[in-house]
């Protein structure tokens, strides 16, 4: 029965997904709000059953599925992201005449895949979750079938994603061949014989595949296109959730490896170079963009760079705190884009944002707070997150990384504040057709605002949770 308890979160998600898909086939019965309600209920049930697992170190299927506190913490993040994406989608799907049952169903399946990815220490199960997520994600990004950009996004995501998946599976094969196991603890054992070169190649392949999911430079290039083309609620979900899963898996592989594995200096060297490149490229490329979704895409790449610093300096707590923050900042920013959209069309070009802050002060104000948080201004959560990451980096002796991080954060202030300036300082050129009857989106916006401020002002409780989570790693 223990196994069933561990399976419950996944069962609720999959069951909800099937139910919503079937509801979507009905001609009249499956209205939008019913499907959304079913999805939210499934997510809530999954969250509840996951919460019951906290502190019980539940294993199932011979230890293949293991819900330790770190996995549960991530599960909550994914479920929150999925729930917010459901809320964001409700009105958006109608406005853009997109298939609804598929949206909710695939979203739940994607969340399910991410949960599987994090709730194991066996890399084969990780791959299973990765593929469950990826296949759903390819379809999600192409969901707006009448939009060429959406189709382009899906095609690019699928092709490059398959490429990365192939890397991972090849790497797994090499690892299994040399080590005889795919348990992360077995992988990290010091060399006892056999070919270390093959094992290291396998490790490099797996890490590269994960770097693709996290969108680290130079594995990042699909991301701006996918963010731009994918429906905005989908982009909101992609902004934080898959990164979080990728980072946790990276952590699970590297934490034992840094203790007992070999060639650790080389790995740290490479990851440092990647972090620097990611921070610099992400932030500088964002400077030139005029499309808001592309700006947010590059900004999410840059944030991945900061988070990688936490991995390098061996600071899981800082990483989880940053991820929790970024979840709300990222989803909230895309929510603001959705809130400012009109029927059938979204405002994406920066110039079109002129004056919307004054016309819609609530949306503009919350968007501003979220952007300030991304830029790392106190008293928001973004500030504390960066502060923790950079200070532990300095303490761990990665002074250079921290300096690059601070400098590129300064660069990022420019493009974040440019959005604020355009929203509040410039006169609108014409009246915008904004659909303001969108209560679900406002709910998400206020939730994100609250979360960012709570994390910035009173982070005590969440840090206690994170301490418990990292202790289980």
């Amino acid at each position: 029965m223990n196994g069933f308890a561990a399976l419950a979160p996944l069962l609720f998600l999959v069951g909800g997904a099937i139910l919503v898909l079937l509801l979507g086939t009905r001609r009249n019965g499956g209205t939008n709000s019913v499907q959304a309600a079913v999805s939210i209920a499934a997510i809530a049930a999954a969250g509840f059953s996951a919460a019951r697992l906290w502190g019980r170190a539940v294993r199932a299927f011979g230890g293949q599925l293991r819900f330790d506190e770190a996995a549960l913490f991530m599960t909550f993040l994914f479920l929150l992201a999925a729930a917010m994406a459901v809320l964001l989608g409700m009105r958006y799907l109608v406005r853009h005449a997109m298939p609804r049952g598929e949206y909710y169903g695939l979203l739940l399946l994607a969340a399910c895949g991410l949960v599987i990815m994090t709730a194991t220490i066996n890399l084969l199960i990780v791959f299973l979750g990765l593929e469950v997520f990826s296949v759903s994600a390819y379809a999600l990004s192409g969901l707006n079938r009448r939009d060429d950009r959406s189709a382009e996004a899906a095609a690019k995501y699928f092709l490059i994603g398959s490429f990365a998946s192939a890397f991972v599976i090849f790497g797994l094969a090499l690892l299994f061949g040399t080590r005889g196991s795919l348990d992360v603890h077995q992988l990290a054992l010091p060399e006892t014989g056999g070919s270390s070169a093959l094992a290291l190649t396998g490790l490099a392949l797996v890490v590269s595949g994960l770097a693709f999911k996290i969108a680290l430079v130079p594995f990042h290039m699909y991301q701006p296109d996918v963010y731009e083309g994918a429906p905005t609620p989908v982009a909101a979900f992609f902004a934080a959730a898959p990164k979080a899963a990728g980072f946790l898996v990276l952590l699970r592989i590297l934490v034992p490896h840094f203790q007992t594995g070999i060639r650790n200096e080389a790995i740290i060297e490479f990851l440092s170079a990647v972090a620097v490149a990611t921070m610099i490229l992400g932030n500088f490329a964002a400077l030139r963009q005029r499309n808001l979704k592309r700006i947010l895409a590059y900004s999410s790449i840059a944030h991945a760079g900061y988070m990688l610093i936490a991995v390098i300096s061996g600071d899981p707590a800082g990483l989880l705190f940053y991820l929790a923050n970024y979840l709300f900042m990222g989803v909230g920013a895309f929510a603001a884009v959705i809130a400012l959209g009109g029927p059938g069309r979204e405002i994406l070009d920066l110039d079109e944002f002129a004056g919307v802050g004054r016309r819609y002060p609530w949306i503009g104000g919350i968007f501003t707070v979220l952007l300030l948080s991304m830029a790392g201004f106190p008293p928001t959560g973004g500030f504390l997150a960066k502060f923790y990451v950079f200070s532990t980096a300095v303490r761990a002796g990665h002074l250079g990384l921290a300096i690059v991080g601070v400098l590129t954060s300064l660069v990022s202030v420019y493009y974040y504040l440019r959005i604020v300036r355009i929203m509040f300082m410039k006169e609108p050129e014409r009246e915008l057709d904004v659909d303001t009857e969108n209560p679900a989106v406002y709910l998400v916006l206020f939730l994100c605002l609250y979360a960012v401020l709570q994390l910035g002002l009173f982070p005590g409780n969440i840090i206690t949770l994170i301490r418990q989570a990292t202790a289980s790693l």
Binding site: L159, I160, S208, P218, A285, A286, L287, Y414
Partner: protein, 633 residues
Amino acid sequence: MPVFVFIPLAPVLGALVLFLFGRRLPRRTISALACSTIAAAFVFSVAAFINLLSTAASGQNILTYKLFTWISAGAFRADAAFRFDPLAAVMVLVVTGVGLLIHVYSVGYMSRERDYGRYFACLNLFTFAMLLLVLADNLVFMFVGWEGVGLCSYLLIGYWFEKPSAADAGKKAFLVNRIGDAGFLLGILFLWTAAGTTSFFSLEIAVAGSVIAPSLATLSAVLLFIGAAGKSAQIPLYIWLPDAMEGPTPVSALIHAATMVTAGVYMVARLNPLYSFSPAAGQIVAFVGALTAVYAGTIALVQNDIKRVLAYSTISQLGYMFLGCGVGAYAAGVFHLFTHAFFKSLLFLAAGSVIHALSGEQDLRRMGGLKKYLPRTYPVFLVGALVIAGVPFLSGFFSKDAILVSAFARGQWFVGILGLAGAVLTAFYMFRLIFLAFFGNERFPAEVKSHIHESPAVMTRPLAVLAFLSIVAGFTGLPAVLGKRANLFSRFLEPVVRPAAEGNLSLGAEWTLILASAACAAVGIWLAYLFYVRNTALPGRWAARLPRIYRLLGRGYYVDEIYGAIVVNPLVRGADAVYRRFDLGIIDAAVDGTGRAAGYFGKAAGLVQTGWIKDYALAVLFGLVIFLGVLLF
């Protein structure tokens, strides 16, 4: 949770509701909500006061309650914590009690205003901030309330923001207060470096144990006093208060007479161990207070705007309070604060009633003979004037006398004599106002006359209550010579305010002083009678004979102009030069250059982003090969 924690709660809830929904609620609801929240705060205050009396009997007279740790950075620590002790109890009762009366009065006074909800929202928010200020357990938390009352003062002075003079006055008050706040903040910082704490309790211990270096203590005490001088309108930062009269009259009564401007006095009294520890700082406080008392009194002599007379009078009375605190008679200073809150808000509200009756006329030269038109306002105004003038056995007499007695008892003859001189001035300008407004010829135009009406009961009833309080409040602190129930007030404050060192004034000397100050009041009133009733040509003749002095006083010693010439203009011009030369020439150029370079870099980064899948795949492969190379070789 102890009951005093709930005192600030009701006003902040009221303010929240009114800020959010004030525009949509009907006026009756707004008035009811605003008044009932303050009434609730008052009830809580009374309950907390009674509770304090009962716990004081068992020796526990300082209650604290910590809400949460607010800031904790390294060794620096500040809690959001409340402290309820006799001093805070007095302040809380004054703030909520007088505040309640003024809220009720405002219902009548503001009834014709368009933006009714905003007014009461600000007033409620102000009450909340003021309660935070007086209940705070440490300087940092107190600073929150300190800034809050400053903000509300700014909002309410500029309540009629369509009027440029009101908007300017609000800005002036805010900017001048900033200077004071800078001093206040620096003072907190120095105090923290010296004592390692900002909580009043630990500060008292640190001072008692002489942990603080005397020089640092003096420095921080003086800096804190700069903050107090800004908030409480003392030389040289008093210039904002006369202009603040642009706000609605009830605001002048509540914020610029009874409560906010006394925050500085309260703070000095609260930090009395520090000021007693540093005699130099105390001496500065006493001198500035005494000088301000006389100086503002002389300006008040010739003002023609009824509210400006009262504003300068407030500055002068605040000077008395600082005088008391400066010579070490903190209880006397707070006692004067206590009585002043009643009679000065009474005077302001009565003046408001006069202005209301005359359809907004504030100039004394266009009043006169109002006695018969305002049968309910006149007596209370007269009571207020008698009290502030220091007529014996009224509260103003006792509190002022307590200060002067302490000054002479400590051998501070100079400030004591200044105080006596100020008493003559006070009686004179106050009765000049009475005679000009209520006696003599009717100098207002005919069409105003047709509109004259006594104010509604909602306005006059609070006046009656305040008049009653102004008369009797003094009996809580009778001088020592008047029997055994004397000095109730200072004995109540004893746990917080260390009892003044025994004065070496003999019984006879004290009686002499009491008689002297009564004589001062009499002289002032007699002079005013001489000038403005017996021989009304006299003021004009004096003004003609001494035109320079008359103009000098009328313009408030040209202080605004002097500040403009030596501080404001050079600053503006300097800032402009810095902006042109440095900002545009160097900083902006550098920033633009960096920005442009960053932009080019971004463009280069964009070039790699071709949009072709084969390039994306190539990049992935590139990354992998590098990783492999680094790992394997």
